[in-house]
Symmetry: C2
Subunit: 209 residues, 2 copies
């Protein structure tokens, strides 16, 4: 297995898509696949696929192609899917509740261990069997329960304060849904889902149509 | 104003971020800003910013910088924000309901005109004052009410059927939240939010930490 140290972000971002397509192939009981066939279903060029997968030591064999299950498992390992992750949601509004109820996350080993909000009307509510706690309890909670990833589902104005509170609790990975770019320490990883940015890309094309 | 014909996807995808930051500056009553100052808050290099904005005719003036309000309005125009968009949601589960309730969309001129599902338990429910209709009614609905953008919030297995139904109704823009890459006609624009792909990028980095 080659070192993963110098893999570009672009390659990393393509891996979940490989993982998703390989799972579909596994579901269809496909045992092996060439880079050419994979290219046809996934939409990257065959040469791109070979180059991407070579980054991780090269799983394919000339004339045989890729063993689907092995490749799926290896990419899962690279993506860190061989362990479970404790997650919390901060912000129990519509989006936070939707994410709390999103069944697919559990399948990949994401365990929702806590939900936090500052709104007294939401505190105490149970969502997908997890009680919404007061944000003031976060520090005590995180000192007892390891938290791997926090999802920020607050409004724009509240998000940076939440990020600061998460850093105080030594939580190092943030999935941010608030429409703001957070300022965090260098050892904190933020992955943004800026829904409105995404939607405005679509309007550009609708306008151009 | 230069032609927008040959603007790269990368530039288009940065525009909503410019738009978002400029709105924040406007909220703080900032009148003008240099590419250097803009660079400090937005995180792109000053040269990148000048290059991006030159694509659209160049709004800045040497020694003056950019007029914040003009630039905000121009980018809004480029992104197609000078008109309203009729939107529908297909799939009234957790995520569909969250999007239906997401107040910020209305502010940008997105009007939710319909919600559709196949689940009899959801049909008839009112979400944010919009009634969930039977998916069978989509065609009749779309023939009476113009629909600019459809949000697909179904499961993976149902999404392609929905995309096919949308194409039958001549709906040309799709915001897809289902974890699947849709097959659509060339004149249909799809913007994907693959939440799990995004989350798995995060686990890669958590694992590497």
């Amino acid at each position: 297995m080659a070192s993963n140290q110098n893999i570009s972000m672009a390659v990393i971002r393509r891996l979940p898509k490989y993982h998703r397509y390989l799972r579909e192939l596994l579901d269809k009981d496909v045992k092996r696949i060439s880079s050419k066939e994979l290219s046809e279903i996934i939409g990257f060029t065959a040469s791109q696929i070979r180059q991407d997968l070579n980054n991780f030591g090269g799983f394919g064999q000339q004339g045989y192609g890729y063993n689907v299950e092995d490749l799926y498992n290896e990419i899962g390992k690279i993506l860190g899917l061989t362990k479970n992750y404790n997650t919390i949601i901060v912000g129990a509004g519509n989006l936070g509740q939707a994410l709390a109820n999103y069944a697919s996350f559990g399948r990949f080993g994401f365990n929702l261990v806590g939900i936090f909000d500052i709104n007294p009307k939401l505190i105490g509510l149970k969502i997908n069997n997890v009680e919404v706690r007061d944000m003031d309890e976060l520090k005590a909670f995180a000192s007892e329960t390891p938290v791997d990833i926090a999802y920020i589902c607050t409004s724009r104005s509240g998000a940076q304060d939440v990020a600061d509170a998460l850093m105080e609790c030594k939580i190092k990975a943030v999935w941010n849904f608030a429409p703001v770019d957070l300022k965090v320490d260098d050892d904190v990883i933020v992955e943004n889902v800026h829904l409105i940015d995404n939607l405005l890309t679509l309007t550009y094309f609708v306008k151009e149509q």
